[in-house]
Each structure stands twice: as structure tokens, then as C-alpha cells.
């Protein structure tokens, strides 16, 4: 029995944000795309457990997150590359902000504990409500709220620390370079 076309369209429609979420979880585009594929296959095979009229996107996010979590536990050892590969994904330089600011943000985001990053992405970027995010992560609404708050605080700390760091050595270096007088 095939699902109505609207179901497959809804699944395809969710793909771009599923990818964005998967990349933020895994830090790697190829793995993220594999995760999305696996998610779609699982979803298709379990369409009877989807309740029509409920949020398809949230359902798919839940499947993806669970897949990632079980895979993550298996592969814990080789999960260290979230920085470089994320940079690869985002080759296009965003116009509206400075490069430094963007780099700073990405680095800080990668340093967050996984559950905080996940909560922040779901609520702050994917546009889910706290309730939906709690459903996706299988935890209490209050837990999501505190994870988001801690994520924001930590990011703010990391970003201001990093900009201070940026200034210190950089300024010194510049002073050395310019102060020493052309060779």
C-alpha cells in the first residue's frame, strides 16, 4: 500500500532542515546525508505509526535523532572531526557578518555539549516550540529550556572570551610586525 503523494511530498519538504539538523549533530556532511537517507527509509517503513495530521517534520526529526544517538554510541571513538568538516559544508561566506565573527561562532558551537547544541538548534534554528523539541528529544520541557539557556550562556562566554583572545596576541603580533620596522 502506497501512502498518498502528500506524504512523500511532506517528507521531501522536510529534507533541507533534516540535513541542517543532521549536520549540526554529526558535524559531517556525508554522515549527515546518510543519516537523512536512513531516516527516510525508516519513516517509510513505519508510516503506519505516523498519525496523520500531526507534525511530519517533528516525527522525522525524532527518528533522525534516535538514529544518530544509537549510531553515536557505537562510534564514539571516531567522533572528533566536527570542526573542519563543518567548515567544508559552509564554503559560501555569509555576507552579513564578518568572517571572524562567523568562525568564532562555529568554533563555539562545536564546543557545546551535544545535548545543549541539539536543543539550541531545534528551538533557535529549526523553529520548533519547546514542547515539540522536548518530544523530539524525549525529555521534559523544562530540561529543553535549561539546555537552551545553558547553551546560550556558554556560547556567549566562549564568544566573548575568544574575541578577547583574538585581540591580545593579534595586537602584539601586529605591534611586533609593524614596530620592528621593515626588516
Amino acid at each position: 500500500m502506497n501512502p498518498p503523494p502528500s506524504v512523500s511530498e511532506a517528507m521531501l519538504g522536510a529534507v533541507p532542515s533534516l540535513r541542517a539538523f543532521a549536520i549540526s549533530l554529526s558535524g559531517n556532511v556525508d554522515r549527515a546525508d546518510d543519516l537523512v537517507q536512513e531516516t527516510l527509509l525508516r519513516a517509510w517503513a513505519n508510516l503506519n505509526s505516523f498519525e496523520p495530521g500531526t507534525n511530519m517534520s517533528a516525527w522525522l526529526f525524532t527518528i533522525l535523532r534516535n538514529l544518530f544517538r544509537s549510531e553515536y554510541r557505537k562510534r564514539r571513538r571516531e567522533v572528533a572531526d566536527s570542526e573542519g568538516t563543518y567548515a567544508e559544508t559552509l564554503k559560501t561566506q555569509p555576507e552579513q557578518t564578518s568572517r571572524v565573527e562567523f568562525e568564532e561562532f562555529r568554533t563555539a558551537l562545536a564546543k557545546l555539549p551535544a545535548d545543549q547544541r541539539e536543543a539550541l538548534i531545534l528551538v533557535g534554528a529549526s523553529g520548533f516550540s519547546y514542547e515539540e523539541a522536548a518530544g523530539i528529544c524525549g525529555c521534559a520541557v523544562g530540561t529543553i529550556k535549561s539546555r537552551v539557556n545553558r547553551a546560550r550562556t556558554r556560547l556567549a562566554e566562549l564568544m566573548s572570551i575568544e574575541s578577547v583572545d583574538d585581540f591580545g596576541p593579534d595586537r602584539e603580533l601586529k605591534a611586533v610586525l609593524s614596530g620592528s620596522g621593515g626588516s
Binding site: 533541507p16 541542517a20 546518510d34 537523512v36 537517507q37 536512513e38 559544508t89 552579513q96 561562532f105 562555529r106
Partner: protein
Amino acid sequence: MNDNNKPSGPKGLMAEMMQGSAPHKQRKTSLNRETQVKIGKQLEITYNEVVSQGVPDRFVELIRRLEGGGVVDVPDDKGS
């Protein structure tokens, strides 16, 4: 007759302490707010960067094959 000093002493100290800490706190808060706006913006940019890539062909093909009832090779679980 140092009565005058009694209230004004501690009060002055209190005021000084509060003045001393209040602007500090305020500065910290507004810095945070600025950073929070920055974080929100960066989060959006980072996320939308991927979203704007749309749906890669492989997923369109995957769904079409599933719709057609075709067998889909799952790269997983095959051992290899």
C-alpha cells in the same frame, strides 16, 4: 553628636557599593544582549546555509523509488 554619621556612613557605603556594582552589572547585561542577538543571527545563518541547498537529487530519487515500490539498496547493515 556623631549621630549624623551613623545613618549616612553605612548608607554612603551601601550607595557606593550599589553604584559600584550596578553599572558593572548593566554593562555585562547589555554585552550579553548584544552577544545574544549575534548568536541568534549566526545560528540562523549557519542553519539556513544548509537549508538553502534544497533537496539533493539523491533524496528525490530515493522517494521516487520508494513510491515505485522498488527495492532500495541500503548502504548500511550489509557488512562489507
